[in-house]
């Protein structure tokens, strides 16, 4: 029963556990269930990845309806590779969540929060696994709606406005996506992705299809927070509960990047046909401007969460620059960076969650003296920060290496140079935090004992260290990530019809 239904289990497990969490309601009952289910989902996703790597693409027909009519779940190396990431980060953050939430959200709402969190995970996994264009929209909305609720549960009233802004932008993005899918359906008469890929080349130049792709691109740009459509992101990440931020920063935009790759490479094959087109250059330009502007803005933030949020906008820029190079190395870099950035940013936000749980805030002034008070937490931040800069032996280096390699291969010397220069900006915004943590004394707390440490609870610290440890592990052992990414990149660029 489990083996043949593997592709559908990552959806079924969390979506059935979510209502159970709502029924149980008490955090003490709901949390163990949610965590167990999240880890089980992670296990299933890993099994799925192993199966895809061994046997190739898996197709699963929901309700046993044949593909063009029924909904098909289709797992190839591109999405099989993303699913363990989403479910793994989801499970790890959920393990970390209760202690972190205790400081930020009223306890009576924890049970519901776990339910909504699982729904959000369901939506993200569903977007990844499905092979039906409209089904993507449904799962997109499941994940978005639950995300709006999660963001607005933040500790501060400003989280409400952040959630509302996110909702308006997200709903517009989702609706643009829906219009795009509608226009493609109008011309091809099918919603199945494999079918679409077959029928689109014949009508590629029709105005309907071009308009449809334009709507898709705009809607998805909103969802991935491509500069200048990123305005919802910094506030949402800053004011959401820390655990929620860690989960969102690691997964939400990454899954949207996957949808972009799916639609524009495997379905439309635009990556190929726009080889030297203006659209490609425009997106690359926006991505590069985004890297610089967002990194620069990050350097001037007093709130560290917000600085990291702007850095996320910049990282999306790196990923898109890699995608638009249209070389195997560039695409490999982009794919690896999706994975690596999820680990780094998830880890960094988890570190900040630890600080918030102990100190009560994550402004620069709150971080004074953390290096002595919470040594392990501070070291975790330093390692994560080194990754953001791209220092060798961290994951950040691996992705930047392939991105620069890809740029050189494509003959884009100036792009390679710009990526290296922009890393210096990362040095600035990471160093500001590190300096405050290690070299500034807290003003108002002179009575703190020099030798005494005051780390976050073990239940928070351990997942944080695991996540940060993973950034070193995958920085040293690149076999898994780079190999799969390279295979996938070759598939995207070669098989893009």
């Amino acid at each position: 029963m489990i083996a043949e239904n593997l592709p559908v289990l990552p959806i079924v497990l969390p979506i059935l556990a979510a209502p159970l969490c709502v029924i149980l309601h008490r955090p003490r009952l709901a949390w163990p269930l949610a965590v167990a289910v999240a880890w089980a989902t992670f296990g299933v996703c890993c099994a799925l990845l192993a199966r895809v790597l061994a046997d190739g693409t898996i197709s699963y027909q929901l309700g046993n309806w044949a593909p063009p009519f029924g909904i098909e779940f289709r797992v190839d190396s591109l999405n099989a590779w993303l699913m363990p990431l989403v479910s793994g980060v989801g499970a790890l953050v959920l393990t970390y969540a209760p202690r972190s939430l205790a400081a930020e959200v009223a306890r009576s709402r924890h049970g519901l929060l776990y339910g909504v969190y699982l729904l959000s995970m369901t939506g993200l996994l569903g977007m990844t696994v499905t092979g039906d264009a409209f089904n993507v929209f449904v799962f997109l909305e499941i994940s978005s709606l639950s995300t709006y609720a999660l963001v607005s549960m933040g500790p501060d009233r400003r989280s409400l406005m952040a959630g509302f802004r996110y909702l308006i932008m997200g709903a517009i993005g989702g609706t643009f996506f829906l219009i795009g899918v509608g226009l493609l359906y109008m011309k091809t008469g099918t919603l199945n992705m494999a079918d679409l890929a077959e029928r689109l080349p014949a009508v590629k130049d029709s105005r309907t299809v071009l308009a449809g792709l334009g709507f898709l691109a705009t809607g998805l740009s909103l969802k991935i927070a491509l500069f200048p459509l990123h305005l919802w992101l910094p506030s949402a990440y800053t004011f959401a509960p820390s655990a929620v931020t860690a989960f969102l920063a690691a997964t939400a935009t990454k899954v949207s990047v996957y949808i972009v790759l799916r639609f524009f490479f495997t379905i439309a094959g635009v990556g190929e046909s726009l080889g030297n087109g203006a659209v490609r250059e425009a997106i690359m330009l926006l991505a590069l401007v985004g890297i610089f502007v967002a990194s620069l803005v990050a350097c001037f933030q007093q709130e560290v969460k917000r600085a990291l949020a702007y850095s996320s906008v910049a990282q999306i820029g790196y990923i898109l620059v890699g995608v638009t190079m249209l070389t195997v190395d560039g695409m490999t870099g982009a794919l690896v960076h999706v994975f690596n950035h999820a680990l780094m940013k998830g880890g960094l936000f988890m570190v900040l969650g630890c600080v918030v749980a102990r100190v009560g805030g994550s402004r620069l002034s709150d971080l004074r003296g953390i290096g002595r008070r919470m040594p392990l937490t501070a070291i975790a931040f330093v390692i994560g920060g080194l990754g953001m800069i791209g220092v060798p032996a961290t994951v950040g280096f691996v992705s930047k290496w392939y991105l620069v390699l890809g740029a050189l291969e494509a003959g884009l010397w100036h792009v390679a140079a710009m990526m290296l220069v922009s890393s210096l900006l990362a040095v600035v915004y990471v160093w500001r935090v590190v300096e405050v943590m290690y070299f500034q004394e807290p003003e108002d707390a002179p009575e703190i004992d020099e030798a005494k440490t005051d780390e976050a609870p073990f239940g928070m610290l351990l997942p944080t260290l695991v996540m940060i440890g993973a950034t070193i592990w995958f920085g040293l052992d690149t076999d898994l990530t780079v190999d799969v990414a390279r295979r996938t990149a070759a598939m995207l660029l070669g098989g893009g019809s």
């Binding site: 709606l145 709006y148 607005s152 009233r157 400003r158 406005m161 909702l167 709903a171 517009i172 509608g182």
Partner: protein, 122 residues
């Protein structure tokens, strides 16, 4: 001329869509924003339903008896898809209005500029 008259349903969709999008962008009142968003989403429903119409087609319910083979049905798939989109729209509206209620309790206002005055960093 035929672009204007022959495709009138799409013109209606576009006018509604842009009216909705304009309301979302231009209005400072949060409830008006939600209404604009609703209008925007509803125009897409109209777009899909219009797309599924087959000339001379009837409701897609199986007809038995004489002449059953000659009956032309409208394409039911876009309608089914829009059933889902309606539900999504309701859910979005409900979450949005819930947030507006909470914002009103927290700031005593549903005007965006007044809220920003109280909390400039959002």
């Amino acid at each position: 001329m035929s672009t204007f008259v022959g495709l009138y349903n799409y013109w209606i969709v576009i006018v509604l869509m842009m009216a909705g999008l304009y309301t979302v962008i231009a209005k400072g009142n949060l409830v008006k924003k939600v209404i604009g968003l609703n209008l925007f989403q509803t125009s897409v429903i109209l777009f899909y339903v219009g797309m599924g119409k087959v000339e001379g087609g009837t409701a897609p319910i199986l007809v038995h008896g004489d002449g059953a083979e000659e009956v032309v049905y409208s394409n039911p798939l876009p309608h089914v898809l829009m059933l889902t989109a309606i539900v999504v729209g309701i859910a979005t509206t409900a979450v949005a209005l819930a947030l507006v209620v909470r914002l009103n309790e927290a700031y005593d206002s549903i005007e965006e500029d007044e809220i920003l005055e109280q909390d400039p960093t959002t």
